[in-house]
Amino acid sequence: MSEQAERVPHSVKLDEEKCVGCTTCIKKCPTEAIRVRKGKANIIAERCIDCGECIRTCPHGAKRAVSDPLSIIDGYRIKVAIPAPTLYSQYDEGRSVDNVLSGLLELGFDEIFEVAEAAEIVTAATKELLAGNAQALPRLPRPLISSACPAVVRLVQLRFPSLIPHLAPLIPPMEVAARIAKDKIHAGEEGVGAFFITPCAGKVTVTREPLGYGRSALDGVIGLRDIYLPLRAAMGKAPERKLARAGRKGLGWARAEGECDALGERRSISVDGISNVIGVLESLENGKIGELEYIEALACPAGCLGGPLTVENPYIAKTRLRNREESAAEALAAPRGYEPPSFEELRWTEPVRSRNALVLDPDMLKAMVMMEEIEMRAEGLPGLDCGSCGAPSCRALAEDIVRGTAVESDCVFKLRDKVRALAKELMALEEIRPPGLDR
């Protein structure tokens, strides 16, 4: 296990009171990172990629994303809201982007910096990368994989380490927005707080443990779900002000295909939903995808609109977003009040390393012996993948047994075999009479 993996904190947490210990989430987890133990679905921290699939699938609402309460903004002199464009799509067409942003000011924020505005800046930097204009960087392998979705970056670290060089080494839009607000617009000022309003479960983790850059400039992450109702009420009271700045290209980032549309790159793939993303990355690793420049890969179905912290159905939200895109300008008007960040300011400054959480043992020979035992054990299991043992499949149980985190009798069928053998033995013993009584 790498040092990085051990330090990874997670934003997906289990509500023990609500968890009934069913097997829904263990089956859906793309990295087999959940095991039911003592009736509760625990997450194996070093394998979790914060994709939020378990939050989406839990029928009991027992998996939730940790985020900050709205009250976190109290105590800052200047409170800057950093809203994801997904926020605009949560309200019906009667609510313009200006309405939504005015509501945020009514709620107590002093200023707004739209993530969509920063997304346009990141799009421009991505174009530089694709055109090979970024002199400081060696030519990166193609296709580049977007690094905007933190769950996809973590997936690559864990399951596709050979594709790490394909990741576009750029800071994600929400972080760019916070840095511009704090380091450029309010350079040198004290008491400025930047608060991201997000549909995403993985963004909390990424602000605490950034991927590819040092400390995050964000001071808090507020779940869209938590702000939805208070904002709705505030919008009713707020006088509408002209606040929206981002153009169509930035707004589109909230949905699948938005990044590719903004880039105008036809030799690209846009893929959404974590299992579809795995399929595309698998093909890329097999050398099956050639002649492509860019892959936009988003863990949530329909893109960020399908994030686990959203309120609206992602496909309804998509139509609403498209309507807003149509009424917006093509792209951002000239930047206001700040020097646009240079390419150097947007690129990663820290290496993104592979996470070796799947390795059986650092000693390859030991790992090979363990591999054999896993295979032997797996063959002895029923192969039904019923999940009653708490592992997602018989193979995963076999691996857990060899890793020492489970025992064979965790399998109900194996347990039944043992009980039957024991019963037979009891019957046989019952037949035996002491010699003196055996008449």
Binding site: R159, P161, S162, I164, E282, S283, E285, N286, G287, K288, S354, N356, L358, V359, L360, D361, P362, M364, L365, A367, M368, V369, M371, E372, E373, E375, M376, E399
Partner: protein
């Protein structure tokens, strides 16, 4: 998939005998949707053994190309992969039509893939050369009417 390790069973390897994880895959000749399974399984195993990303990439490309070739040209076959401390040996055996001119088949851009596969984006004539490029040792034997055997080694 079947897997066995060394000889003499778990933990009792005679001195001098290399420890190996052996994988075996039966590649179906009539279900194209299953092509790629062997490559995915191999990758899964290599990752658990802690083998580095660069090797995994080479092995998956070589294995995937081999699998696709078997489905397109030979109606399926058998792939065996032996992972040892010194390297990964992949042996692909089929009972297909065989290759009349191996040096021609090894030429980039030469393809005999039927149209129905070309329509799917295959048949660019890069299969065998790509396999060779991604391994350290490459041997091919083929007999017309009997089949083809490819042996690839990637050093660790």
């Amino acid at each position: 998939m079947r897997l066995a390790c060394g000889a003499g069973g778990y933990g009792t390897y005679p001195k001098g005998q290399a420890l190996a994880v052996k994988l075996r895959f039966d590649v179906s000749g009539d279900d194209f949707s299953l092509a790629g399974k062997a490559s995915t399984e191999l990758k899964r195993t290599l990752a658990r053994l802690g083998i580095g990303p660069a090797i995994i990439r080479k092995a998956s490309i070589a294995m995937y190309e081999g699998e696709i070739n078997m489905v397109i040209h030979a109606g399926g076959g058998v792939i065996e992969a032996d992972i040892e401390a010194g390297g990964i040996t992949m042996t692909l055996t089929d009972k297909g039509p065989g290759i009349p001119d191996i040096s021609l088949a090894m030429t980039e851009g030469w393809s005999t893939a039927p149209d129905r596969f070309r329509e799917m984006g295959f048949g660019a004539g890069m299969g065998l050369p790509n396999m060779k490029r991604n391994c350290d040792e490459f041997e091919i034997e083929s007999e017309v009417g009997k089949g083809t055997k490819v042996r690839m080694v990637i050093n660790l």
